[in-house]
Symmetry: C2
Subunit: 404 residues, 2 copies
């Protein structure tokens, strides 16, 4: 984020803040936040002092009460997946839906997918918001949307293998499960018409992205979003992610203090909508961890790929470790697969963690790397290939059995 | 169906037959079916002698090979749910999608739902084709689509109860499961904002329809379709179903001989597309059982609600019984619930069937009715409330354990 907003961002922010205050009861208390006329004087410093919005704030209101428009102006209501608590409702106007579809369409054009390509969307039951938005984007890009559910029944596999699917939208862990299912069915994952994958919904290490690119022989781009903000389309890219210009403003804050981080250190991604009609949000805490990256050539905001979620940090004897760091270590070792999970345990008063990973060899080198890079409190256990659960959507990588 | 086509139907049929022959390899063999110029002379008699198309025919071709347009002209590819074998792919052009959405929108307007109403779509993973089409229809009718998956997690229930949902799209068995889930959660199903349900995807007896209307205090309309024909929107209505004019032609045939039935007796519904661009079908055997009904006031074709599927007929000592007939008998008895299943058994050389039903009383009167109305080969077994599986989509009502 530039030290000061450029003029267009400042104008859009003024609009969005004023609009939210006028139309959303939760934000109306900000009317006199900075004295009279404070929105006209909105600058970086004043903006950074606005209170953060949390998922808990959204949950505190009756359903749809965070909407800035009457229900009759919505075209669609979406619920978050509710993986970490009760679902939160969001929704969109026809303009919001069009803007979101156009953003996704531009991502599809950017990866170089030809018009008329078949794009399978694997997001299922638990990711309906994403599935909907992605399909509209696919159609808008002149491609053909092919909704499949995430449970990868044999007929879905056939359709990916024989159905000439050129691009797949999924979570990273669904790609791992797909690779596994193809192997079991005797298909070579490199021997399909697949050229691209648009992945999102889960943190992914560089190592996993490269593994997916290699084993499928495809190019992977990342598409980031949240149901609360209209689904995918908040940021996307191959490599660093570009925050969608004129639609979202990104900040990285220290999750403990809420202070903006201006350097490139990891922190919590905080998003503000700049043009959303139905459910505007100001400084929304995503609980996702990312880093600022240098701006793009036209001044676009850039952030790193999502490194993890605040909820998933493994805190081990003072050290805070993200599962993606462990994932990267696993994928650096021959003989190990990306099928893994992290089990939190307690020995007496001491916390420790066991990394369970499917493979045929590699315990010693992985243990060595984890002790050297992360913490001595890790142990590694090889488990039988096929024994860990497969992803049908979002994968739970950390299991905490300390209370058991 | 009128004894002879009216002029508009004849013209549309000529277009559709000619179009299918020209663009779909499977139908190209019909080019010389009735001698030169046979399409110009197409009448009821010639049409009824065209070969029937089966799901097996569709499966015999590589994926998308039944499409009449190049892949680049499709906007969406849909797979059938694959509940009775490998999935079949279908798809739609932008025009097909618009026509289908308009049909569904008109059904929504007809039931009297106010613009801006929130319409929850419960079709999940196994009914993606339906879910997509219904949502587009909802938006086109000026209402707000609210996709929910069919697994009825507590947050979904909350959203239906507190989220001011006015209409629900679901299968009949999902409504039974919803009633049950509300009861367990302590909600009164009559105490919601629900006014209407648009149900489809499963046969439903009049008795079940009335049960649903009563326990939820809502009006129920039926919306019928098949993924092979673009999803819901083939026929709909409260009471008899109106076949969508200018889009589909319906026949009822004897499932054993394939001969058209002109009287009102039950037979297999056979459908021909009149305007479909992407996947036209001629005389497609749906395997669904229905009856002809008198034409509507403007000559619209009408059929009964779907009575059952050919695959689900319980043949018992020469008697062919549809599960909906048993369902009706169950719902006529106080103390029984619509949670039931039919288990096929063999005693030595004799086939019999056990009706398992959740309830507190009613074995004797139900046994008496089934013996009187259906067959002596039925036994009835009360099972504990909550012990039978709940529907998350399409419910399997018949279990065959004769080979076990």
């Amino acid at each position: 984020m530039a030290h000061e907003f450029d003029e267009q961002t400042r104008r859009q922010l003024q609009w969005s803040v004023g609009y939210a205050i006028e139309h959303v009861p939760h934000y109306s208390v900000l009317a006199n936040f900075g004295g009279s006329g404070w929105i006209e004087q909105l600058d970086q410093k004043v903006f950074s002092s606005l209170p953060l919005t949390t998922k808990g704030d959204l949950r505190a209101y009756p359903m749809l009460a965070m909407s800035a428009v009457p229900q009759s102006e919505l075209v669609r209501v979406l619920a978050t997946s509710g993986t970490t608590g009760p679902a939160v409702l969001s929704g969109e106007t026809a303009n919001d839906a069009t803007a979101s579809a156009e953003t996704i369409a531009s991502a599809i054009r950017q990866i170089g997918l030809a018009e008329g390509s078949l794009v399978a969307v694997l997001h299922g039951t638990d990711r309906l918001a994403d599935a909907q938005a992605l399909q509209r984007g696919v159609v808008r890009a002149g491609c053909v949307a092919f909704p499949l559910s995430g449970d990868l029944r044999p007929q879905h596999l056939d359709q990916i293998v024989y159905g000439a699917v050129q691009c797949i939208c999924a979570t990273p862990s669904q790609m791992i499960a797909l690779h596994d299912a193809m192997g079991r069915a005797g298909f070579d994952p490199r021997d399909t018409a697949l050229e691209f994958a648009l992945l999102g919904g889960e943190p992914m290490s560089d190592a996993l992205l490269q593994w997916i690119e290699r084993v499928f022989d495809i190019a992977v781009a990342d598409i980031y979003g949240l149901a609360e903000l209209g689904g995918p389309g908040v940021a996307m890219g191959q490599g660093p992610l570009t925050v969608t210009p004129h639609r979202f403003l990104a900040e990285i804050v220290d999750p403990d203090t809420g202070q903006s981080l201006v350097s490139g250190e990891p922190g919590e991604l905080v998003l503000t909508s700049l043009a959303t009609e139905a459910f505007p949000v100001l400084r929304f805490r995503t609980r996702d961890i990312a880093m600022r990256q240098p701006d793009g050539p036209n001044g676009e905001q850039r952030i790193s790929r999502i490194q993890g979620r605040l909820d998933d940090i493994v805190e081990l004897r003072g050290e805070r470790i993200l599962p993606t760091r462990i994932e990267a270590e696993i994928l650096a070792i021959d003989g190990l697969t990306p099928h893994y999970r992290i089990v939190r345990l307690r020995d007496g008063d001491l916390d420790r963690a066991r990394v369970e990973v499917e493979g045929l060899a590699g315990v010693e080198p992985l243990t060595e790397r984890l002790h050297g890079q992360c913490s001595d409190a890790f142990t590694v256990q090889l488990v039988e290939p096929g024994s860990l659960p497969r992803s049908t959507g979002r994968m739970i990588r950390c299991v905490d059995v300390r209370g058991c």
